[in-house]
Amino acid sequence: MTSKALLTVENLSKTFFLHEQNKVIPSSSHVNLSVYSGKLTALIGATGVGKSSVLKSIYRTYLPSSGRLLYETATGEILDLARALEHRILELRREEIGFVTQFLHTLPRQKTLDVVAMPLYRQGVDKQEGRARAAELLAELNIPERLWEVPPATFSGGEKQRVNLARGLIASPRLLLLDEPTASLDAKTTDRVVALIQRKKEQGVGMLAIFHHADLVTRMADDVVELNVPILEKS
């Protein structure tokens, strides 16, 4: 691939130090990968090789222990996400980087429409337009309209996952991190999600994804990175 990478992960390692047990736990080590605009890079590997840790490190939910996470911003600046100022990270989360996690974390008591439209509100889109666009996306993902006005707290796993996905995709981030976005979906719904992700790719969104099924990797990935079992380095 010759085009410039949107994100280049160089030698990323993440370890946890548990003070209580005075123990170091390696989570992922020496990860190298690239993500390109309009392409999907799939992370594969056995359970426990730290796939989610990589996504969380990029999103800065985890503090990377070592390595560089070079991200090219919309303005062309190269930023190491491991060291960027917190305010900068918050700004990127608002404007450029989306994360669809396995579990839906929402503000309690918030209507599904507003949950989905939140990334738009944060960008200054008004309520009316935000809700309209959220409705469109929810319809496309086959969420029954009767659920739109209620908080997703009581939804089924599959419904929650689609709400989560809708929220991650609505603002068309430049970089999208996907952590098993279709884990609890039936085949038919999975197809809809796949189609939606393909469309976002065509729109130029660069994606880094973890899938629970190998066939999804085959269907969607432009590039595959396999992680190795993390090892504990001597300090």
């Binding site: 003070h19 800065r60 917190e86 305010h87």
Partner: protein
Amino acid sequence: MDKILEVKGLSQVYGKGCDLCFTSTGAEFETNICPHCGSIVALHDLSFDLYKGEILGIMGESGSGKSTAVKCLYFDQMPYSGSAIFFDDTEQKQLFNLNPAQRRSLRNHRFGMVYQNPNLGLNFDISAGGNIAERLLMSQVMNYSEIRERARELLARTEVLTARMDELPKNFSGGMQQRVQIAKALATRPPLLLLDEVTTGLDLSVQAKILDLILEIQSELNTAMIVVTHDLGVIRLLAGRTLVMKYGRVIESGLTDQILEDPQHAYTQQLVASAL
């Protein structure tokens, strides 16, 4: 992104203080009482930046110095040392170099404070509407009908029955008193709001509603807020970034999700692990 507040090296000592106070207290000594002079180091070397519309959480147990920090910023007390710059539109104001009248003016017009104890934020001898009127009158709004109208709007916004606006807040429930406090704090549409344990001691359902209200206000008015709490749930819900304090020191700071999912300091790990 515009900075609204820049705090540097803020410290507070209760007592006469000595040269060894700062070097003999803190998390590693597991005390904030100076063994040499007996002074209490309530706060030492607190530094942070706050941006417009951002919610910063300050988390810690009682005595960690978190309330002292906001009380200094609201001029309830003057710090022992340190500086804070408030970026007020085009002007930069060195908070602790201002004279009392300038400080009062900032308190009245540009800052809002909501205390854990409504007694501190409200005058219980005047009506709910009168409490809001006071803040408007300080801002030179001198039209009675306009004051009534604004007070009514603010109380409606914070979901206080406007029919009760002429009642004394001492007759209100705790949650309602907090709403009146919030309405009062918002009366001048301040760009900075300080919230000191505002939901502590309230029923869970009431807490939830107050937190919703705070979030709505933040998204509507783009108000920058400092939320002081010992409650991880409040931090999780409200704050984008969080400072964790212990013995008057910031022992850890970061994005809130990082603090909660990848805490670095032993104390924070313990705190997160023990959360329900």
